[in-house]
């Protein structure tokens, strides 16, 4: 059920007068989705839109406050995240600005001022793990993350390397904001774990070869190579290693779960390496996962990604949480919503595993504790949610499997000791 609003206001008179939509509480709740349909991440766009519509499908069967949540998927790469966010908030009048990403800081001051004045938008985001830990989680800045901090993800990679018995590592990262922050976090975590960081290597994005970089890393002879890059860049590195007759232990970040990785590397190259493990988010087994998995695989969106894809799971959970918190708050005012997020997602309260169970319990006046697909879904005071980590590996160019779970609380506790991003 795709809800698009094609608004044609092309008349010259309206050139500078984009009408800003006023809204009454009775109207639908508008969700503005910042979705990448152009630029380097353009192949993610359809996947993110589909995962969002899938989650909204359940919510809108029995919408919070009786107000349907209407999605406006807006490509943000062409015009820039800041401008798209301003257009969604100012002229589209969205109540929810969904999935703010790397350039959040370029419009953060403006939007905090706007929220103080207009009481919207709420800001749930699965990408805000790349933003400073101190941002969000309050009524003033109602930014809530759908995944642990990127730094926590990098800490998990370092932790798993330790778990595999690595003593010395080389950390490679591409020149991308999230990857560079993960590199710093992984380096510090590795040292905290007593591992020797032999070198940190930066690679350029969109290159056709990384032979020299791989050769340099290999010559240092590390026990493991921690790599933070896009799938295709990781694929080239593994292929170059195989071509040069080098074999190493690789640990990649969640992006490597996209099929661009094995298709670029070719399974021939993958199989020549000592081991290639991808540390990402896994789901928490239980009623939430069972319901979600069957529903996703039966839905029209199933071909967009496997049920276990971290983005798909995280979007499902954060949409449920957002809707439940609106119901609990009794209003779509972002400031009140922020107060109720923790209330619906953490103890005390009866545990609920789907939106349906949650909305029913709330309407009976109960306090609830939403247990999501990606984890127990408990928020800290700056809007960071806990998560489940696991190691995966590719079976062939279409199939990966979970190899081993990683202790989530160990990750969070190690992550809190990092100095690079003070709470």
């Amino acid at each position: 059920m795709r809800l698009f609003r094609i608004v044609a206001r092309g008349s010259a008179a309206a050139l500078l007068l984009g009408a800003s939509a006023a809204f009454a509480e009775g109207d639908t709740i508008k969700l503005g989705h910042l979705s990448p349909h152009t630029g380097p991440f353009s192949h993610f766009g359809p996947h993110f839109d589909g995962a969002t519509d899938f989650a909204l499908g359940f919510v809108n069967q029995n919408p919070p406050l009786g107000r349907e949540i209407e999605a406006i998927h807006a490509d943000f790469a062409a015009l820039g995240e800041g401008q798209t966010a301003r257009r969604l908030v100012e002229s589209e009048g969205v109540d929810i600005l969904y999935n703010s990403a790397h350039a959040y800081e370029s419009y953060r001051d403006w939007i905090i001022g706007y929220i103080a004045e207009n009481g919207r938008p709420m800001m749930p985001s699965v990408h805000a793990g790349s933003q400073k830990q101190s941002y969000g989680g309050t009524a003033v800045e109602p930014l809530f993350r759908g995944s642990p901090m990127d730094t926590a993800q990098a800490t998990a990679v370092a932790l798993y390397a330790r778990q595999l018995g690595a003593e010395s590592v080389v950390i490679v990262a591409s020149e991308d904001a999230g990857m560079q922050m993960s590199q710093d976090a992984a380096a510090e975590a590795a040292e905290l774990l007593g591992m020797e960081v032999m070198a940190t290597i930066d690679i350029q994005t969109e290159q056709t070869s990384y032979r020299s970089e791989v050769a340099r890393a290999n010559n240092l002879g590390p026990d493991a190579m921690l790599v933070f890059s896009q799938a295709e860049e990781g694929g080239i590195m593994v292929k170059n290693a195989a071509e040069m007759g080098m074999s190493s232990m690789w640990l990649g970040e969640p992006n490597w779960l996209a099929d661009e990785f094995p298709r670029t590397a070719t399974m021939g190259a993958v199989n020549t390496q000592d081991g290639i493990y991808i540390v990402g988010y896994s789901h928490m087994d239980g009623p939430a996962w069972d319901f979600f998995q069957t529903a996703w695989e039966a839905s029209e969106f199933a071909d967009l990604s496997p049920a276990g894809d971290s983005y798909t799971m995280q979007m499902y959970d954060i949409i449920n949480m957002t809707a439940l918190a609106i119901e609990a708050a009794g209003t779509s005012d972002a400031r009140d919503w922020a107060e109720h997020v923790r209330e619906v997602s953490m103890a005390p309260g009866t545990k609920v595993y789907t939106y349906e169970q949650g909305i029913e319990a709330l309407r009976n006046g109960e306090d609830i504790d939403y247990e999501g697909v990606t984890g127990s879904y408990d928020y800290n005071d700056t809007g960071v949610v806990s998560g489940q980590f696991a190691a995966f590996s590719w079976l062939d160019t279409t199939e990966w499997e979970q190899v081993e779970a990683i202790n989530g609380s160990e990750v969070l506790d190690l992550n809190s000791q990092l100095t690079i991003d003070p709470v």
Partner: protein, 299 residues
């Protein structure tokens, strides 16, 4: 509240105004003086980043940081100017293109200074009382207007004629005792420093500086706008930017919002249209829309 004052519109109009300034400065460099500067983004980006680094990393006071940034750009443009002063057009084009690429690469690698791809955090407006964005747009417009007026007047002065003569036939001008190298260097340093200055004014508009803000796209956009508008006319930059960047990046993006999965096609078609306009302009109307008609003979 009148819609013009929304943060969205002010941001768009400020960036469009920035491009008008860059395109008009390019008119002075290429249209008038014949310097094929393909490193526009290098001078603009250096101004923006130098200002951001001075202001945020070294906490230099606002006006001093702007002044120093412009001075840095002027010094660098003197060096690049010295390099290209006696090269032919193609060498100037490639040398300046290489310079622009160096600036973008250095901003990425020198993380200790610019924070690299992670980004340099929020450059405030000089006036932080809420309508800072409006004042920034007013200042940008005033600066751009001043540049356009300068371009219009200078063409009809001895200095303008000298630059035009040098562009048309440098040896002939030198034969009349004109030190064309010094004049070429002067106009190049002045206009590049002004590009740096526009960069310092653009920094607070973008607020959060990342290397992909200073990609080659900036140079190509300024060039396409100037060629379409009319490289030799002082208003060529203004008209060119209005027809390309204003129409595509503001009017269409704002008032003809397209469902997201078609958004990609809009950008792709936009660039194809840019390419076609460039080809048509160069082939059939090299002096652009505002270019003068056929020259009148004296008999």
């Amino acid at each position: 509240m009148f819609d013009l004052l929304t943060s969205y519109t002010l941001f768009s109009l400020s960036t469009v105004m920035g491009f008008v300034a860059l395109a008009t400065l390019l008119h002075l460099q290429f249209g008038l003086a014949g310097i094929v500067n393909f490193g526009v983004v290098g001078f603009w980006g250096l101004g923006m980043y130098a200002f951001g680094v001075l202001l945020i990393q070294f906490e230099v006071p606002y006006p001093l940081a702007m002044l120093l940034a412009v001075a840095i750009v002027a010094a660098v443009s003197l060096l690049i100017g010295w390099v290209i002063v006696d090269l032919n057009d193609q060498a100037v084009l490639v040398a300046t293109l290489a310079f622009g690429t160096i600036v973008t690469s250095l901003v990425t690698t020198e993380k200790w200074l610019t924070e690299g791809v992670v980004g340099l955090g929020s450059v405030p407006y000089p006036v932080e009382t809420g309508d800072g964005a409006l004042w920034q747009f007013v200042v940008l417009t005033a600066v751009t207007a001043a540049i356009v007026i300068y371009a219009a007047r200078i063409a009809k002065t001895p200095y303008g004629r000298l630059l035009a003569a040098k562009r048309d036939n440098e040896p002939l001008a030198r034969g009349l005792g004109k030190n064309t190298s010094r004049h070429k260097l002067t106009i190049f340093v002045i206009t590049c420093a002004l590009m740096g200055f526009v960069g310092t004014l653009s920094a607070p508009v973008h607020r959060f500086l990342t290397p992909d803000l200073i990609g080659p796209g900036v140079t190509f956009s300024a060039w396409i706008a100037l060629i379409v508008g009319g490289k030799r006319h002082p208003l060529g930059g203004v008209l060119g930017v209005a027809l390309t960047i204003f129409v595509f990046d503001f009017v269409i993006e704002t008032y003809v919002p397209v469902p997201s999965e078609h958004a990609a096609t809009v950008t792709v078609i936009k660039t194809i249209v840019y390419g076609v306009t460039l080809i048509v302009a160069l082939m059939f109307r090299p002096l652009g829309l505002l270019g003068p008609g056929r020259k009148r003979g004296s008999r």
